[in-house]
């Protein structure tokens, strides 16, 4: 039950994109196509889960025992960057189409603040390794969900008569704002 609440909290109540406003760059950038958004969501979730494990180990077995927590940001970014490199090589081989579709946003997972934010939040919190992984899965699911929802809405609006200055990223930000309003309903749930 405790683990389930951690998952719900990370995925809905404190959704990384719509409540914490982290990871906005890929949220707006990769949400134009439904299929791509699923790929991006999966890739980000994967990096989140592995990164949470590795950064938890680094935090509790290297940084904290030696009293060098000030190296946290550097260490975490290095970890995340190498993980993204791994995902990139894998996708390049396994699914070249998705690799091309994600384009610049794939290496940019490195600088996706949702992932670094998650690692830092976990380092500040008191979760054990298992709870951290559940939290990361929740965060990834929440990120993917927000991304997929926005992509589906944007695809539906492809032929809508949106005023010219508002087409593209502008309308995506407005939709995101309304989504964030709707997510306020989950406030206080966990």
């Amino acid at each position: 039950m405790e683990l389930f609440l951690i998952f719900l909290g990370a995925a809905f109540v404190n959704n990384f994109v719509l409540v914490r406003f982290l990871g906005i760059c890929p949220f707006i950038g990769v949400s134009t196509k439904f299929e791509t958004s699923i790929g991006m969501g999966l890739a980000t979730t994967f990096v989140m889960v592995v990164a949470s494990t590795v950064t938890w180990l680094i935090q509790h077995f290297i940084l904290a025992p030696f009293g060098i927590e000030y190296l946290q940001t550097v260490a975490f970014i290095l970890t995340i960057a190498s993980l993204v490199q791994l995902v990139e090589m894998f996708l390049h081989k396994a699914s070249p189409a998705l690799y091309r579709a994600l384009g610049i946003y794939l290496p940019l997972i490195t600088t996706n603040c949702a992932i670094l934010g998650m690692a830092v939040l976990l380092a500040q919190g008191s979760y054990n390794l298992g709870e951290s992984i559940i939290f990361a899965i929740g965060a990834g699911v929440g990120f993917s969900l927000a991304l997929i929802i926005l992509a589906a809405i944007r695809e539906e609006l492809e032929f809508a008569d949106i005023p010219k200055p508002l087409r593209g990223a502008a309308i995506a930000f407005i939709i995101a704002g309304i989504l964030a309003l709707a997510f306020k309903g989950f406030e206080g749930l966990v």
């Binding site: 539906e156 609006l157 008569d161 005023p163 309304i178 306020k184 989950f186």
Partner: protein, 310 residues
Amino acid sequence: MENNANKRLLVVSPSPHVRDGDTTPKIMFSVVLALFPVIFASIYFFGLDALRILVISSVTAVAAEAACQSLRKKPVTIYDGSALVTGILLAFTLPPQIPSFAVVLGAIVAIVIGKQIFGGLGYNPFNPALVGRAFLSVSFANLMATWVSPFDAVTVATPLQLGSGVVPYAELFFGNIAGSLGETSALAILLGGVYLLYRGVLDYRICAGYLGTVFVLTLVLGHDPVYHLLAGSLLFGAIFMATDMVTSPVTPKGRWIFGIGAGLILVIIRLWAKAPEGVMYSILLMNMLTPLINRFTRPRIYGQGVKGNA
């Protein structure tokens, strides 16, 4: 189109070929007609305040629609009644003591941000009236949570804040309770709902899925299901908000999913979240899932064995 068609003996056009007589104005004005019992009930219980909010909200909504469309040099379609419906619906979700400036702001947000920005009627992903209300409830949280009793306008708690068993069912049913303008009288809402059902405007799947899920879930979880159906804005939301044709799924299966999902979210919010009421959030959250529901409930293409991608 019609002029061209008259000239030719054989008209070749894509389906549908048989159309019924329903048009946007016809549907919208039948919704307005269905809202009349609720209008009378709100004015009866909350007096001039109800009239003030209704008039300001409707006039602002229609004016905002006209302003947007003429600014964009598009044909002005305020006579189709859709902006009027949005204005009335928004007014019914507001508390009786709300200041007029907030009503104006809410109606402008509902029409401009909720609808016109997306290209007008038919393209808005979210129910415009609920976008206006959501905006007001985060911007003016106190104003939006000041409830007064009917007739004498004394500040009191709503039945949902009081908990089940405090207010008798009869009061909940006839509407002599505190709450938003349009939500108090279950009787008036049901009258409107029956008319819409008779007119074929209302889709029973969404209503039945929504109300049924709330009833069954609260019963199973050991709460009072009748109280949960009658208190708050569930009935109003289920009949007039959730069934909005633009923002709910187009497939029959999708409509069941929409209703059941909204019921599930509502029960979760009412029982465990901070807000006492969750009808607005449950419908907005299902609105945002509507494109996904449509996508995954596509019917089989006629004559093909597998689900189509068209």
